[in-house]
């Protein structure tokens, strides 16, 4: 609609990219020795991008028309949806930067490359949040994924990390191919790659090859379900999450997952949820997704119960949480999904930051047994970890409860009562395994051998403090965030 290039709407992505390039140069010219500096540069970039998001929010809310602003020939859409998911991406990445500093030093890994990769991945997430076109979604996803493959295998000398990187790369490429093929078929059926164009084509009944749309839709669904690690496309998750460095796992399970949900929601709203009479597309998708959601929750929660490795346990928990968020997707209420993912991001990054601190160099101590009696040794860490576990389990006053509550409420409002009851029973089951670390930390005696105390560093302490505060803030005073997400609903 604009005749000129609207620089404001691309500002967040531009800022983060710019900082990433500066970071690469600084890294090259300082020979990788100013490790703290790189972290501060990337934090600065993320904060600046956050400020630009705030500015856009102000512009949007003072804009009289309040219509979603579509720029770059419909490639980018600036609406509350974008602002919400961009915020999640920035928060998650910023917390990861803070949590990663001590870990990178402990493992003596190059810091510059890590932060650069993280920044580019963030650009990918931001693009996925703002995409108004299948092509942009794919572009964002690829920028994100390629950086993520490298990050998962970031411990070059660690076999498990290598395995994680490689596995994620191969399976991820395969899933991306599905997604891309699905997009191509959808384009063939609707003659448009723009989400708005696809939606219009479906509602006005201009789809000539409806079966092509169905096949395309199904293939996109497969690709997206892989990215959000929904069952039965979740098999890669435990291995990759276990092998990747803990801080990276924390980030992977929250940031890229939130971005994948953003893409999922966009495609769902444009293609699947349209109430057009095309072979019952909407109904069929809803049923399929309901089955996927229930399977995801059950697989995640049941298998998590028998894990002995905390990272695998949290990986299955992450699968289960994808199932809860899917309930919100099916209810077609992106506000609650976005809020849920923000809550999940804060608590899960916090949990993995603790896992990283306790696991120490090369994540050697990640078995549940390593947590025995820790509650009375590393008090601060244990209390933080207990808070995250209670939040993941969904106890009131924590972010996890508020997120679930909103998702379940909107699902119930849409008449998905059986799905809600399934989800609720699942979260009752999940309490069992979230309590296991607490049982070990507080109810069991510490082993006789002396343990070295974990070294955290100020930045990681800050990350944990912010996460704990965030868990309580989102759980007790969600007003501000919810109002920000619902900018247009005023």
């Amino acid at each position: 609609m604009e005749k000129y290039v609207n620089y404001i709407t691309i500002l967040p992505e531009a800022i983060v990219s710019l900082f990433a390039f500066v970071l690469m140069l600084v890294d090259a010219y300082t020979g990788g020795r100013k490790r703290k500096l790189y972290a501060w540069i990337s934090l600065g970039g993320l904060v600046a991008a956050g400020a630009s998001i705030g500015w856009i929010a102000v512009l949007l809310s003072t804009n009289a028309s309040m219509a979603p602003v579509s720029t770059y020939m419909g490639m980018l859409t600036t609406d509350p949806f974008r602002l919400a998911f961009s915020t999640i991406a920035l928060v998650v990445s910023a917390l990861t930067v803070l949590a990663s500093m001590a870990w990178l030093d402990e493992d003596s890994l190059p810091a510059g490359e890590f932060h650069t990769l993280l920044m580019f991945a963030t650009v990918g997430m931001l693009l996925m949040a703002s995409a108004g076109d299948l092509v942009m979604i794919f572009l964002g996803l690829e920028i994100l994924s390629i950086a993520t493959y490298v990050l998962a295998g970031y411990r070059r000398r660690d076999l498990r990390s290598n395995e994680a990187g490689l596995k994620y790369y191969i399976l991820g490429s395969f899933a991306t191919a599905f997604l891309l093929y699905g997009m191509a078929l959808t384009y063939g059926a609707t003659r448009s790659t723009s989400l708005e164009g696809i939606r219009l084509a479906i509602t006005s009944g201009k789809v000539e090859w409806t079966w092509l749309l169905l096949v395309g839709g199904a293939m996109m669904l497969v690709g997206l379900c892989f990215k959000i690690s929904a069952a039965p496309f979740h098999v890669w998750t435990p291995d990759v999450y276990e092998g990747a460095p803990s801080v990276v796992t924390g980030w992977m399970s929250t940031g890229p997952k939130a971005a994948a949900f953003a893409a999922f929601l966009k495609i769902y709203i444009a293609v699947f949820a349209v109430g057009a009479p095309i072979l019952g597309l909407a109904g069929a998708t809803q049923t399929a997704l309901a089955i996927i959601a229930v399977t995801t929750m059950v697989v995640g929660n049941v298998v998590a119960m028998v894990q002995d490795n905390i990272k695998r346990m949290l990986a299955y928990s992450s699968i289960a949480h994808a199932g809860y968020a899917l309930v919100g997707v099916i209810a077609n209420d992106w506000h609650s999904v976005a809020f849920y993912l923000l809550c999940y991001g804060v608590m899960n990054i916090g949990a993995f930051a603790v896992v990283a601190a306790i696991g120490r160099r090369y994540d050697r101590e990640t078995m549940l047994d390593d947590y025995r009696g820790l509650g009375w040794e590393s008090r601060g860490l244990s209390i933080a970890f207990a808070v995250f576990m209670f939040s993941l389990a969904g106890f009131p006053m924590t972010a996890g409860f508020m997120g679930k509550f909103l998702v379940f409420k909107s699902a119930w409002e849409k008449g998905l009562s059986m799905l809600v009851i399934f989800a609720v029973l699942n979260s009752a089951i999940s309490v069992y395994y979230y309590l296991r670390p607490i049982v070990l930390m507080y109810f069991s005696a510490a082993p006789d051998s002396d343990r070295r105390r974990s070294v955290l560093g100020a930045a990681a302490v800050a990350a944990l403090a912010i996460s704990v505060a965030g868990v309580f803030y989102l759980g007790m005073m969600p007003d501000a965030v919810l109002k920000f997400f619902a900018l247009s609903a005023k």
Binding site: F395, M397, K409, W412, V420, V424, A428, L435
Partner: protein, 524 residues
């Protein structure tokens, strides 16, 4: 900011404030912890004193909520939650029971808890805030928050300071409660949305929703009512616990430290019956009528079953735990007799059980501290070395059995008469008749236990030189025993304050012609 609308908030949050103080106070290690113990006990005593005006200033003629405080909490994205607290005749005495039991429980664990004392006290104080909050919350969301948050300290208290099988018991306790309460959460959401759709007014407000239902502004079809009733009832009946959901209780009771058992028996179980009286009966009256016979079958079965199982327990603590199953069955029966008298009896029985069973657990704790065993066979003839102890034990035993002029009698007789005269409950007379036998069963297992522990000659030489009660133990037990007698002799003091609220709970929900029904007083 008047006294009336701040006092309840103070009572609720002074313990939490105390918890923060205890957490920060001094740097004493486990060996020297008198300071924080005294501080914590002081906080609970202050809370108790603060709660006394509630009873004194309570308007006994009013059926409505008093000492109301209200403020907005969350208001975004179609979610409207208020901080809304207040008490009526139903919750008044339960709040006072809580504030009374807490200092006693802390004093009782003065010497029994030897490790991680600071954490223990902090959790106890948080628990007190949670428990008072449950009884005072007038917003379903707030109620749910307190209901769940209270689980965490209790879980940790059982798990860290409990007996040998504490891990099993604590996890069972949490899982059982969680499954029930999450279904209640779904029902809360459903009720919220239903009320919003019917009246255009989205709220979690308990009085408002109850009024809308009573005034016919929110008509819930019977089959929906049955679902909602079921979701609430499962949460509450697990907590009560009604047979067959009772299996977590003996485990939790036996493994918990003395103070934990006391609080569990005196207050936590009452939350279940309180919830039934606050939500199920007034909100889903038609469903209550149609499901009452089934629940009463389980209640009566539980009364007899609990008594029979209690009879054969070799462990005193387990015996008392099963007696709770039996006594709480009485409460459920009284509630679902759906008569004002039955409800009054249920409430009275809740209070009486809180006092007498709480005291029994304290007594068990006292002899456990002396002998480190709870097996009945290890004791015998305690009356000789411990006469004062045995006297108080005897009064408590009689109160628990329901001897006239002691607290247990009033509740049981009201429940029985209420059930017997109930017109809504099918087969009411049969229920009453079977339940009445429990008075005999109760006498059998309690007196037999008392006889084997206290009467006769000292058979075990280890018991011969046990010291009698010390001053702290007397301070712990005597107030409870005095209250048992007061409640038995002068019940009107208590019942007249709760009667209007209980009458209203039944009347509000009975089908009223629309023109007579009062419109909700206030639509905020």
């Amino acid at each position: 900011m008047t006294f009336e609308n701040t006092i309840l908030t103070l009572v609720m949050f002074v313990p939490l404030l105390g918890a923060i103080l205890v957490a920060l106070y001094g740097r004493s290690e486990d060996g020297n912890s008198d300071g924080i113990k005294k501080l914590a006990i002081g906080v609970t005593v202050v809370t108790f004193v603060l709660s006394l005006p509630l009873a004194i200033l309570f308007d006994a003629k009013s059926a409505g909520y008093q000492f109301i405080a209200r403020a907005g909490w969350i208001d975004a994205a179609g979610l409207k939650v208020d901080y809304h607290v207040g008490i009526d005749g139903l919750s008044l005495w339960l709040v006072l029971l809580t504030t009374l039991i807490m200092p006693i429980a802390l004093l009782a664990s003065y010497s029994a808890i030897t490790k991680r004392i600071r954490e223990y006290l902090v959790l106890m104080l948080i628990l007190e805030t949670g428990m008072i909050g449950v009884f005072c919350a007038l917003d379903m969301f707030l109620f749910y928050v307190f209901w769940e948050v209270m689980l965490i300290p209790m879980y940790l208290i059982i798990g860290v300071w409990g007996g040998e099988r504490r891990i099993y018991a604590s996890i069972k306790f949490v899982l059982y409660t969680m499954i029930g309460s999450l279904l209640m959460l779904v029902a809360i959401i459903a009720l919220y949305l239903m009320h919003g759709k019917a009246t255009g007014f989205y709220t979690f407000d308990i009085p408002l929703i109850t009024q809308s239902i009573a005034a016919g502004m929110l008509m819930i079809p019977l089959d929906t009512q049955l679902w909602l009733f079921g979701a609430f009832a499962i949460a509450f009946l697990i907590k009560v616990p009604l047979f067959p959901f009772h299996t977590w209780l003996p485990d939790a009771h036996v493994e918990a430290p003395t103070a934990g058992s006391v609080i569990l028996a005196s207050v936590l179980l009452k939350m279940g019956t309180y919830g039934l009286m606050r939500f199920n009966v007034p909100m889903f009256y038609e469903a209550s009528i149609s499901l009452a016979p089934i629940i009463c079958v389980f209640a009566v079965f539980g009364i007899v079953y609990g008594a029979l199982v209690a009879m054969v327990q070799p462990d005193i603590k387990k015996l008392v735990a099963y007696s709770s199953v039996s006594h709480l069955g009485f409460c459920v029966l009284g509630i679902f007799s759906l008569t004002s008298m039955g409800m009054q009896g249920a409430l009275y029985q809740m209070l009486a059980h809180g006092l007498s069973t709480g005291a029994l657990f304290l007594i068990i704790g006292m002899i456990y501290e002396r002998r480190h065993t709870r097996q009945i066979s290890e004791f015998g003839g305690l009356a000789t070395p411990m006469p004062q102890f045995s006297t108080l034990f005897m009064i408590t035993t009689f109160a628990s059995i329901g001897l006239p002029l002691l607290c247990g009698f009033v509740g049981e007789i009201l429940v029985l008469i209420g059930t017997f005269t109930s017109t809504t409950l099918e087969g009411a007379k049969w229920f009453a008749a079977v339940a009445a036998t429990a008075m005999v069963w109760g006498a059998v297992y309690m007196l037999w236990m008392f006889q084997r522990v206290v009467m006769g000659d000292v058979t075990n030489p280890e018991n011969a030189k046990l010291p009698d009660l010390n001053l702290r133990e007397k301070v712990v037990l005597v107030p409870l025993v005095v209250l048992m007698i007061v409640m038995g002799v002068y019940p009107v003091f208590f019942t007249k304050r709760s009667q209007p609220a209980l009458d209203a709970a039944i009347q509000k929900s009975s089908p009223v012609p629309p023109q007579k029904a009062q419109a909700p007083a206030r639509m905020p």
